[in-house]
């Protein structure tokens, strides 16, 4: 119990004093996971909308693959990305292993199926008559898609929230492709794991609290955005 208090006090200390090391790690976490989420959204929403609306043979197989991908273990993604990015790997010439960009790639791969899956569900849930009505009103294809996306925005924001939640919380992939390098690829989750193995439980608890606060702030902002739409 005492350890928990020590950790909480340490967290407060770090936050109040604006510990530069922790601040750096926190900003990096936000940057990397933000970028990873952004890329997954840029891939996942268009892909999800397409899969929700398109009719083609094998569609169900593709959708089931996406649904399967929603549960991809981060450590598996990390391993595969690492295999490709290691110097000895096929993409080794990019010199990307152990950089923040490598984590962004791994996290985008983790989050993309999540965002896609949620998007398929969000668009699929819309009343099919809406589509017919919009077309009947003479909308162009682009206008139709835009209106559908607007109509499904609550579900789509849920997709973004879930995607972000998936990447901010993962440690396996970041550790493997980032290497937990101080000042470069040490994010909150890998730093927490490292402090545990160093036996610095107070710092580890402090970092975990900071991670949760950060995740909550971002999720809160997205939720505000999502629920604002309710009045419409």
């Amino acid at each position: 119990m005492e350890q928990i208090w020590q950790g909480l006090i340490k967290a407060l200390e770090m936050l109040v004093q604006g510990d530069r090391e922790v601040l750096g790690i926190t900003l990096l976490t936000l940057k990397v996971s933000g970028m990873g989420t952004l890329i997954s959204v840029l891939i996942g929403i268009p892909l999800g909308v397409f899969l929700a609306l398109a009719v083609f043979p094998g569609r169900n197989a593709v959708v089931s693959l996406v649904n399967f991908g929603m549960g991809l273990p981060p450590v598996v993604v990390g391993l595969w990305v690492a295999i490709f990015l290691w110097r000895s790997g096929p993409l080794g010439f990019l010199n990307m292993i152990y950089t923040p960009a490598a984590i962004v790639v791994a996290q985008a791969i983790i989050a993309a199926p999540i965002v896609t899956g949620f998007t398929i569900a969000a668009i699929g849930q819309l009343n099919p008559k809406i589509r017919l009505q919009i077309i009947a009103l003479g909308a162009s294809r682009v206008q139709l898609l835009w209106l559908l996306v607007r109509e499904a925005r609550m579900g789509l924001l849920a997709a973004v929230i879930a995607g972000f939640g998936g990447v901010i919380s993962e440690v396996g992939a970041s550790m493997m492709v980032g290497g937990n390098i101080y000042g470069s690829t040490r994010v909150l989750t890998t730093a927490t794991a490292m402090e545990v193995s160093k036996g610095n439980f107070d710092i580890a608890i402090a970092l975990s609290v900071i991670l949760m606060v950060l995740a909550y702030i971002v999720t809160f902002s997205l939720t505000m955005l999502q629920q604002r739409g309710r009045g419409l």
């Binding site: 933000g34 110097r87 545990v196 160093k198 997205l222």
Partner: protein
């Protein structure tokens, strides 16, 4: 009105994320342009004990300041570190399992192989010492007692330097602990393994540095130490740049030279003295392995 504000919000968030992305990119830009030969970056694959004891946090900043290189330390078990060296995925290795290092040197994968420092392995266990290990004459005796009593023994089980050492000790004791109920393999680093041994009231083999650094969290005590064959010897070596096109030869060389320089050796000797009252590692540059522990 509301619709517009939603759009504004979306725009703000997207912009913020894109901005964050740009920043991340500008930071990487110099790294990407500085490609292989004249790269200022070196990947150091090393054992967990150098990170978990805090030694790397002291050594690397000095090195970076002195030489302008940027070190990427990847703290994994010695087994994995050597494996990364074999594939040319690291530039320089700092490890502690001579029997596994030797093949790399023989094959010419590792060059500039230098003795850096040593400390020793110790057997730690619960205070009440259920297997009566403290009475054992040697560490091998100790293992025999543990096996006889079936007392919990927590093993790294990760092919690290410590793990390699432990396996060879069981071999000497002519015991095959694999699969026995009292023998538990964690597959994780030294720090984590000590925590697990602590929780399970088990015995484990650890390097002295990690144990001292973690002692504040542990109820474990040293039950066997001081054997000559418990020496824990660290070597630094370059991954051969002639074998792998992308290995940073100059950077690796600079790091090896730094590790054996008198200045660094002094830092190693002083490391931990203020906190633990004793050195965690003993500098050995220029010595021969046979001279150690005498």
């Amino acid at each position: 009105m509301l619709k517009r504000s939603v759009l504004v919000w979306v725009a703000i968030i997207v912009l913020a994320m894109a901005l964050a992305g740009c920043q991340a990119k500008t930071e990487q830009a110099p790294r990407d342009t500085a490609k292989a030969p004249e790269s200022k970056e070196i990947v150091l694959a090393t054992t967990t004990s150098t990170q978990d004891s805090g030694l790397l946090d002291v050594l690397i900043p000095y090195f970076e300041k002195k030489t302008g290189y940027k070190v990427k330390p990847i703290a994994v078990g010695t087994g994995q570190a050597l494996e990364q060296g074999k594939k040319g995925d690291a530039d320089v290795l700092l490890t502690h399992a001579m029997s596994s290092e030797k093949p790399l040197v023989d094959e010419g994968v590792a060059v500039n192989y230098q003795l850096v420092m040593h400390n020793d392995f110790i057997l730690v266990g619960p205070e009440n010492d259920p297997a009566g290990v403290k009475q054992a004459g040697s560490s091998i005796e100790a293992l025999k007692k543990i096996a006889e009593k079936g007392a919990v023994f927590v093993s790294r089980g990760d092919k690290s330097g410590t793990d390699t050492k432990e396996k060879s000790m069981w071999k000497t004791a002519q015991i095959d602990p694999k699969g026995k109920q009292w023998y538990q393999e964690t597959g994780s680093g030294m720090g984590q393994t000590l925590t697990i041994a602590n929780q399970k009231l088990g015995y484990t083999l650890t390097d002295r540095a990690t144990f001292l650094a973690q002692q504040k969290n542990l109820k474990l005590v040293i039950v066997s130490e001081g054997d000559k064959d418990l020496l824990n010897i660290y070597h630094v070596m370059q991954v051969n740049p002639d074998k792998f096109a992308r290995v940073n030869g100059a950077g690796g060389k600079a790091f090896v030279e730094y590790m054996v320089s008198p200045e660094t050796q002094k830092i190693i000797e002083d490391f931990g003295k203020d906190k633990y009252g004793q050195s965690l590692f003993y500098p050995d540059a220029g010595k021969k392995v046979e001279e150690l522990g005498k």
